[in-house]
């Protein structure tokens, strides 16, 4: 019996490896969706609990949206082009000017009471973190860079900004509103 097991050890090892790789791949597919059915949030912050944030934001998904995918810029590694396909961005003040051409000016009326990142008289971002003002949005999920304000921006090429850029739905705006309520 033991000889037989040892003689076939390679089959057992091979199957274990195949199982891990196959199911890891299938489970990755389970938590993915086409761009039109998901909202992607990229965060240029030291740390984000993407899983917990996604669970929270998925509690009240707009129609047609299957999931929210929240991750840091660093998680992209070798596929940095993917960052261009995000819907919402959490960007600190020091980097905001660099990325500004990729962001869409926003309608202030859509977020009453919010403070904004402004450039040339237009509002682009919503303040999420301001240490001096004592504002921390989604602090349970996001660790912001201390001493630096952080903003929520909208990708001008997002497919979920409704009338702002002629998209079919405004799911990114709905999710942004939900995110702004998080403490």
């Amino acid at each position: 019996m033991i000889k037989s097991l040892l003689r076939n050890l390679h089959r057992y090892v091979f199957w274990a490896l195949i199982s891990v790789m196959l199911w890891a791949w299938i489970f990755t597919l389970l938590l993915s969706a086409p761009e039109k059915n998901k909202i992607t949030i990229y965060a240029d912050v030291p740390e984000i609990d993407g899983n917990a944030l996604s669970i929270e934001l998925e509690k009240d998904l707009p129609k047609g949206i299957r999931l929210v995918d929240a991750k840091t810029f660093n998680s992209l590694l070798f596929q940095q082009y993917a960052v261009l396909k995000g819907d919402l961005y959490l960007v600190p003040e020091s980097d905001a000017e660099t990325y500004l051409p990729s962001f869409l000016p926003i309608d202030r009326a859509a977020f009453p009471g919010a403070a904004f990142y402004e450039s040339d008289g237009e509002a682009y971002g919503i303040v999420l973190y301001d240490e001096q003002a004592g504002l921390i949005t989604g602090g349970r999920y996001v660790t912001y860079k201390e001493g630096e304000r952080c903003f929520l921006f909208f990708n001008k090429d997002s497919k979920h900004l409704g009338a702002w850029n002629g998209s079919a739905d405004d799911a990114a705006i709905v999710i942004a509103r939900h995110f702004l309520t998080l403490r």
Partner: protein, 169 residues
């Protein structure tokens, strides 16, 4: 002095053994399919029940179920199915092969060889006249042959399929 020789003849193989081996092969095949199907079904159900909050637990549970069911199938394959399959092939070879009779002294050795596809055989030393040769015995039947005896064996492709023991030995 007159010696009276009584020979007892023993067949190592019989048609029932072939039928039994074929049934064993079939049962093992069905068991392998059942375990594989059950494992796959369980994994599919786990996938369906997966949410973002239980993702990690479900992934590793699925991997565990997949590995265990796969290992069970592999075990059944090499421990039951393949030996039965090779046994059926071997018995058909014995059934259809041409028999030769060798008379002499025979000694079962402890040399057990494994041939691919699950056939294990034991070597048997044969001395007849001035000559010596190595015959083989299908290992599952090794206990049916005396350790040493004088008499005759019938072989098919060097496999001992029947033997006679000389009572006066």
């Amino acid at each position: 002095m007159i010696y009276f020789h009584m020979m007892k003849r023993y067949e190592l193989y019989n048609p029932e053994a072939l039928l039994s081996m074929q049934a064993k092969k079939k049962r093992a095949g069905i068991a392998m399919l059942a375990v594989a199907a059950a494992g796959l079904l369980a994994c599919v159900i786990l996938c369906i029940l997966t949410t973002r909050s239980n993702y990690g637990t479900m992934l590793w549970t699925t991997v565990g179920v997949s590995i265990l069911s796969g290992w069970t199938v592999i075990f059944l394959s090499h421990a039951v199915y393949e030996p039965a399959k090779s046994g059926v092939r071997h018995m058909k070879m014995v059934e259809e092969g041409e028999r030769k009779t060798i008379r002499g002294r025979f000694e079962k050795t402890n040399e057990v060889r494994y041939i691919r596809h699950g056939v294990t055989l034991r070597r048997v030393r044969a001395v007849y006249g001035e000559r010596a040769a190595m015959l083989v015995l299908y290992e599952p039947y090794a206990k049916r042959l005396p350790d040493t005896f004088v008499g005759a064996v019938e072989t098919v492709n060097d496999f001992i399929v029947a033997y006679e023991v000389d009572d006066n030995d």
